[in-house]
Symmetry: C2
Subunit: 163 residues, 2 copies
Amino acid sequence: MAETRRIFTFLLRFVAFCTTLSAAIIMASSREKTTVFALSVEAKYSDTPAFKYFVIVNAIVSIYGFLILFLPSKSQLWRLVVALDAVFTMLLTSSISAALAIAYVGKEGNPNAGWLPICDQVRKYCNQVKGALIVGFISLILYILLFLYSVHRALNPLLLEKS
Amino acid sequence: MAETRRIFTFLLRFVAFCTTLSAAIIMASSREKTTVFALSVEAKYSDTPAFKYFVIVNAIVSIYGFLILFLPSKSQLWRLVVALDAVFTMLLTSSISAALAIAYVGKEGNPNAGWLPICDQVRKYCNQVKGALIVGFISLILYILLFLYSVHRALNPLLLEKS
Protein backbone atom coordinates (compact mmCIF):
# COMPACT_ATOMS: atom_id res chain seq x y z
CA MET A 1 0.00 0.00 0.00
CA ALA A 2 2.77 2.40 1.00
CA GLU A 3 4.65 1.38 -2.15
CA THR A 4 1.65 2.10 -4.42
CA ARG A 5 1.22 5.50 -2.77
CA ARG A 6 4.93 6.24 -3.23
CA ILE A 7 4.76 5.40 -6.94
CA PHE A 8 1.59 7.44 -7.33
CA THR A 9 3.09 10.58 -5.77
CA PHE A 10 6.29 10.05 -7.79
CA LEU A 11 4.21 9.98 -10.98
CA LEU A 12 2.23 13.04 -9.86
CA ARG A 13 5.47 14.91 -9.19
CA PHE A 14 6.87 13.82 -12.53
CA VAL A 15 3.77 15.08 -14.40
CA ALA A 16 3.90 18.33 -12.38
CA PHE A 17 7.55 18.75 -13.39
CA CYS A 18 6.68 18.18 -17.06
CA THR A 19 3.80 20.71 -17.00
CA THR A 20 5.81 23.52 -15.34
CA LEU A 21 8.67 22.93 -17.80
CA SER A 22 6.23 22.94 -20.75
CA ALA A 23 4.53 26.10 -19.50
CA ALA A 24 7.89 27.89 -19.27
CA ILE A 25 8.96 26.71 -22.74
CA ILE A 26 5.62 27.49 -24.44
CA MET A 27 5.53 30.99 -22.94
CA ALA A 28 9.22 31.66 -23.67
CA SER A 29 8.86 30.61 -27.31
CA SER A 30 5.76 32.77 -27.95
CA ARG A 31 6.59 35.39 -30.55
CA GLU A 32 4.95 36.65 -33.70
CA LYS A 33 5.95 39.21 -36.34
CA THR A 34 3.14 41.32 -37.68
CA THR A 35 2.66 44.52 -39.66
CA VAL A 36 0.63 47.35 -38.10
CA PHE A 37 0.22 50.50 -40.24
CA ALA A 38 3.13 49.46 -42.47
CA LEU A 39 5.30 49.05 -39.38
CA SER A 40 6.79 45.65 -38.64
CA VAL A 41 6.19 44.79 -35.00
CA GLU A 42 7.24 41.69 -33.14
CA ALA A 43 5.18 40.55 -30.18
CA LYS A 44 7.14 38.43 -27.73
CA TYR A 45 6.78 37.36 -24.14
CA SER A 46 9.65 39.54 -22.89
CA ASP A 47 7.66 42.69 -23.80
CA THR A 48 5.52 42.08 -20.73
CA PRO A 49 7.04 41.89 -17.23
CA ALA A 50 4.20 39.62 -16.05
CA PHE A 51 5.01 37.04 -18.76
CA LYS A 52 8.72 37.20 -17.93
CA TYR A 53 7.82 36.58 -14.28
CA PHE A 54 5.69 33.60 -15.40
CA VAL A 55 8.61 32.06 -17.31
CA ILE A 56 11.07 32.61 -14.44
CA VAL A 57 8.74 31.13 -11.81
CA ASN A 58 7.87 28.11 -13.93
CA ALA A 59 11.58 27.52 -14.65
CA ILE A 60 12.42 27.70 -10.93
CA VAL A 61 9.56 25.35 -10.00
CA SER A 62 10.70 22.96 -12.75
CA ILE A 63 14.18 22.80 -11.21
CA TYR A 64 12.66 22.16 -7.78
CA GLY A 65 10.33 19.52 -9.25
CA PHE A 66 13.24 17.83 -11.01
CA LEU A 67 15.49 17.72 -7.93
CA ILE A 68 12.74 16.38 -5.69
CA LEU A 69 12.26 13.36 -7.97
CA PHE A 70 15.62 12.09 -6.72
CA LEU A 71 14.98 12.60 -3.01
CA PRO A 72 15.12 9.17 -1.31
CA SER A 73 11.78 8.23 0.23
CA LYS A 74 13.35 7.75 3.68
CA SER A 75 15.00 11.16 3.71
CA GLN A 76 14.41 13.50 6.65
CA LEU A 77 14.12 16.31 4.11
CA TRP A 78 10.54 15.21 3.29
CA ARG A 79 9.43 17.14 6.36
CA LEU A 80 10.75 20.29 4.68
CA VAL A 81 8.84 19.46 1.50
CA VAL A 82 5.51 20.55 3.05
CA ALA A 83 6.90 24.07 3.45
CA LEU A 84 8.66 24.04 0.06
CA ASP A 85 5.49 22.82 -1.70
CA ALA A 86 3.59 25.67 -0.04
CA VAL A 87 6.16 28.27 -1.14
CA PHE A 88 6.32 27.04 -4.75
CA THR A 89 2.53 26.66 -5.00
CA MET A 90 2.23 30.30 -3.90
CA LEU A 91 4.82 31.39 -6.47
CA LEU A 92 2.91 29.53 -9.20
CA THR A 93 -0.39 31.09 -8.04
CA SER A 94 1.17 34.52 -8.14
CA SER A 95 2.76 34.13 -11.59
CA ILE A 96 -0.38 32.68 -13.19
CA SER A 97 -2.60 35.40 -11.69
CA ALA A 98 -0.34 38.17 -12.94
CA ALA A 99 0.00 36.65 -16.43
CA LEU A 100 -3.75 35.99 -16.60
CA ALA A 101 -4.58 39.59 -15.65
CA ILE A 102 -2.37 40.92 -18.46
CA ALA A 103 -3.55 38.30 -20.97
CA TYR A 104 -7.14 39.35 -20.23
CA VAL A 105 -6.30 42.97 -21.10
CA GLY A 106 -4.58 41.72 -24.26
CA LYS A 107 -7.71 39.86 -25.29
CA GLU A 108 -10.50 42.16 -24.14
CA GLY A 109 -8.67 45.48 -23.70
CA ASN A 110 -9.71 47.98 -21.07
CA PRO A 111 -11.90 50.66 -22.68
CA ASN A 112 -11.85 52.86 -19.58
CA ALA A 113 -8.07 53.09 -19.60
CA GLY A 114 -7.95 53.35 -23.40
CA TRP A 115 -6.02 50.08 -23.75
CA LEU A 116 -6.99 48.31 -26.96
CA PRO A 117 -7.04 44.52 -27.32
CA ILE A 118 -4.10 43.27 -29.38
CA CYS A 119 -5.12 39.67 -30.02
CA ASP A 120 -6.67 40.46 -33.41
CA GLN A 121 -3.26 41.60 -34.67
CA VAL A 122 -1.19 38.81 -33.14
CA ARG A 123 -3.51 35.85 -33.05
CA LYS A 124 -0.80 33.16 -33.05
CA TYR A 125 1.05 34.86 -30.21
CA CYS A 126 -2.15 35.13 -28.18
CA ASN A 127 -3.01 31.48 -28.70
CA GLN A 128 0.44 30.44 -27.57
CA VAL A 129 0.15 32.58 -24.42
CA LYS A 130 -3.26 31.01 -23.81
CA GLY A 131 -1.70 27.55 -24.17
CA ALA A 132 1.05 28.42 -21.70
CA LEU A 133 -1.54 29.68 -19.21
CA ILE A 134 -3.65 26.52 -19.52
CA VAL A 135 -0.59 24.28 -18.98
CA GLY A 136 0.47 26.54 -16.10
CA PHE A 137 -2.98 26.18 -14.57
CA ILE A 138 -2.78 22.38 -14.76
CA SER A 139 0.61 22.48 -13.02
CA LEU A 140 -0.87 24.74 -10.32
CA ILE A 141 -3.68 22.22 -9.66
CA LEU A 142 -1.11 19.39 -9.48
CA TYR A 143 1.01 21.34 -7.00
CA ILE A 144 -2.06 22.13 -4.87
CA LEU A 145 -2.86 18.39 -4.80
CA LEU A 146 0.75 17.55 -3.88
CA PHE A 147 0.72 20.19 -1.16
CA LEU A 148 -2.57 18.92 0.28
CA TYR A 149 -1.18 15.39 0.24
CA SER A 150 2.01 16.53 2.03
CA VAL A 151 -0.08 18.30 4.67
CA HIS A 152 -2.35 15.28 5.02
CA ARG A 153 0.59 12.93 5.44
CA ALA A 154 2.23 15.25 7.95
CA LEU A 155 -0.94 15.89 9.99
CA ASN A 156 -2.52 12.48 9.87
CA PRO A 157 -0.68 10.95 12.84
CA LEU A 158 -1.89 13.91 14.88
CA LEU A 159 -5.50 13.32 13.91
CA LEU A 160 -5.24 9.74 15.13
CA GLU A 161 -3.84 10.86 18.44
CA LYS A 162 -6.05 11.93 21.31
CA SER A 163 -5.57 15.62 22.04
CA MET B 1 3.90 30.62 27.84
CA ALA B 2 0.98 29.04 25.99
CA GLU B 3 -1.20 31.95 27.12
CA THR B 4 1.28 34.56 25.80
CA ARG B 5 1.47 32.72 22.49
CA ARG B 6 -2.33 32.58 22.29
CA ILE B 7 -2.61 36.34 22.89
CA PHE B 8 0.15 37.00 20.35
CA THR B 9 -1.53 34.99 17.56
CA PHE B 10 -4.89 36.56 18.46
CA LEU B 11 -3.34 40.02 18.03
CA LEU B 12 -1.67 38.95 14.77
CA ARG B 13 -5.00 37.64 13.46
CA PHE B 14 -6.73 40.84 14.56
CA VAL B 15 -4.18 43.01 12.72
CA ALA B 16 -4.44 40.75 9.66
CA PHE B 17 -8.24 41.16 9.75
CA CYS B 18 -7.86 44.97 9.96
CA THR B 19 -5.42 45.11 7.03
CA THR B 20 -7.52 42.95 4.66
CA LEU B 21 -10.60 45.01 5.53
CA SER B 22 -8.68 48.27 4.97
CA ALA B 23 -7.27 47.01 1.66
CA ALA B 24 -10.79 46.16 0.43
CA ILE B 25 -12.19 49.54 1.55
CA ILE B 26 -9.30 51.62 0.17
CA MET B 27 -9.49 49.86 -3.20
CA ALA B 28 -13.30 50.00 -3.35
CA SER B 29 -13.36 53.73 -2.58
CA SER B 30 -10.74 54.61 -5.23
CA ARG B 31 -12.31 56.84 -7.85
CA GLU B 32 -11.39 60.09 -9.53
CA LYS B 33 -13.14 62.31 -12.05
CA THR B 34 -10.91 63.89 -14.64
CA THR B 35 -11.17 65.66 -17.98
CA VAL B 36 -9.37 64.17 -20.98
CA PHE B 37 -9.72 66.09 -24.29
CA ALA B 38 -12.77 67.99 -22.95
CA LEU B 39 -14.38 64.65 -22.03
CA SER B 40 -15.24 63.99 -18.43
CA VAL B 41 -13.97 60.53 -17.46
CA GLU B 42 -14.28 58.79 -14.12
CA ALA B 43 -11.64 56.27 -13.13
CA LYS B 44 -12.86 53.75 -10.60
CA TYR B 45 -11.79 50.35 -9.36
CA SER B 46 -14.70 48.52 -10.99
CA ASP B 47 -13.37 49.43 -14.46
CA THR B 48 -10.71 46.76 -14.01
CA PRO B 49 -11.61 43.11 -13.37
CA ALA B 50 -8.33 42.54 -11.49
CA PHE B 51 -9.19 45.31 -9.00
CA LYS B 52 -12.73 43.95 -8.53
CA TYR B 53 -11.18 40.53 -7.82
CA PHE B 54 -8.83 42.19 -5.30
CA VAL B 55 -11.78 43.79 -3.45
CA ILE B 56 -13.81 40.56 -3.44
CA VAL B 57 -10.92 38.40 -2.18
CA ASN B 58 -9.97 40.89 0.54
CA ALA B 59 -13.61 41.11 1.64
CA ILE B 60 -13.89 37.30 1.83
CA VAL B 61 -10.62 36.97 3.76
CA SER B 62 -11.81 39.75 6.13
CA ILE B 63 -14.95 37.75 6.92
CA TYR B 64 -12.84 34.63 7.52
CA GLY B 65 -10.41 36.63 9.67
CA PHE B 66 -13.28 38.09 11.68
CA LEU B 67 -14.99 34.74 12.32
CA ILE B 68 -11.78 33.04 13.35
CA LEU B 69 -11.23 35.60 16.12
CA PHE B 70 -14.13 34.01 17.96
CA LEU B 71 -13.01 30.38 17.59
CA PRO B 72 -12.40 28.98 21.09
CA SER B 73 -8.76 28.01 21.61
CA LYS B 74 -9.69 24.43 22.54
CA SER B 75 -11.79 23.87 19.41
CA GLN B 76 -11.07 20.85 17.20
CA LEU B 77 -11.58 23.16 14.22
CA TRP B 78 -8.06 24.59 14.71
CA ARG B 79 -6.76 21.54 12.81
CA LEU B 80 -8.77 22.76 9.82
CA VAL B 81 -7.28 26.24 10.17
CA VAL B 82 -3.96 25.08 8.66
CA ALA B 83 -5.74 24.21 5.42
CA LEU B 84 -7.98 27.31 5.52
CA ASP B 85 -5.00 29.59 6.14
CA ALA B 86 -3.29 28.00 3.13
CA VAL B 87 -6.34 28.51 0.89
CA PHE B 88 -6.88 32.13 1.91
CA THR B 89 -3.17 32.97 1.71
CA MET B 90 -3.21 31.64 -1.86
CA LEU B 91 -6.30 33.69 -2.70
CA LEU B 92 -4.58 36.81 -1.32
CA THR B 93 -1.40 36.02 -3.30
CA SER B 94 -3.44 35.60 -6.45
CA SER B 95 -5.47 38.82 -6.04
CA ILE B 96 -2.44 40.96 -5.18
CA SER B 97 -0.43 39.56 -8.11
CA ALA B 98 -3.23 40.25 -10.59
CA ALA B 99 -3.87 43.77 -9.23
CA LEU B 100 -0.14 44.53 -9.17
CA ALA B 101 0.29 43.41 -12.80
CA ILE B 102 -2.50 45.76 -13.94
CA ALA B 103 -1.34 48.63 -11.68
CA TYR B 104 2.12 48.31 -13.23
CA VAL B 105 0.65 48.75 -16.72
CA GLY B 106 -1.33 51.73 -15.41
CA LYS B 107 1.83 53.35 -14.13
CA GLU B 108 4.40 52.42 -16.77
CA GLY B 109 2.21 51.46 -19.72
CA ASN B 110 3.28 48.77 -22.19
CA PRO B 111 4.78 50.48 -25.27
CA ASN B 112 4.90 47.22 -27.27
CA ALA B 113 1.17 46.69 -26.90
CA GLY B 114 0.40 50.40 -27.36
CA TRP B 115 -1.05 50.73 -23.86
CA LEU B 116 -0.34 54.19 -22.46
CA PRO B 117 0.20 54.85 -18.75
CA ILE B 118 -2.82 56.58 -17.20
CA CYS B 119 -1.40 57.66 -13.84
CA ASP B 120 -0.52 61.16 -15.06
CA GLN B 121 -4.21 61.80 -15.74
CA VAL B 122 -5.62 60.23 -12.58
CA ARG B 123 -2.90 60.75 -9.99
CA LYS B 124 -5.16 60.58 -6.93
CA TYR B 125 -6.78 57.34 -8.15
CA CYS B 126 -3.37 55.79 -8.79
CA ASN B 127 -2.10 56.73 -5.35
CA GLN B 128 -5.15 55.20 -3.74
CA VAL B 129 -4.68 51.95 -5.68
CA LYS B 130 -1.03 51.99 -4.62
CA GLY B 131 -2.11 52.41 -1.00
CA ALA B 132 -4.55 49.49 -1.28
CA LEU B 133 -1.79 47.30 -2.78
CA ILE B 134 0.66 48.19 0.01
CA VAL B 135 -1.92 47.40 2.72
CA GLY B 136 -2.84 44.21 0.82
CA PHE B 137 0.83 43.24 0.75
CA ILE B 138 1.13 43.71 4.52
CA SER B 139 -1.92 41.50 5.03
CA LEU B 140 -0.38 38.86 2.75
CA ILE B 141 2.83 38.83 4.83
CA LEU B 142 0.76 38.51 8.04
CA TYR B 143 -1.21 35.59 6.59
CA ILE B 144 2.00 33.88 5.46
CA LEU B 145 3.34 34.23 9.03
CA LEU B 146 0.07 32.89 10.47
CA PHE B 147 0.14 29.98 8.02
CA LEU B 148 3.76 29.13 8.85
CA TYR B 149 2.89 29.28 12.54
CA SER B 150 -0.12 26.96 12.02
CA VAL B 151 2.08 24.49 10.12
CA HIS B 152 4.80 24.73 12.74
CA ARG B 153 2.31 24.09 15.55
CA ALA B 154 0.76 21.17 13.68
CA LEU B 155 4.07 19.58 12.66
CA ASN B 156 6.12 20.23 15.79
CA PRO B 157 5.01 17.14 17.74
CA LEU B 158 6.06 15.08 14.74
CA LEU B 159 9.51 16.63 14.70
CA LEU B 160 9.98 15.64 18.35
CA GLU B 161 8.97 12.06 17.64
CA LYS B 162 11.45 9.52 16.36
CA SER B 163 10.47 8.28 12.92
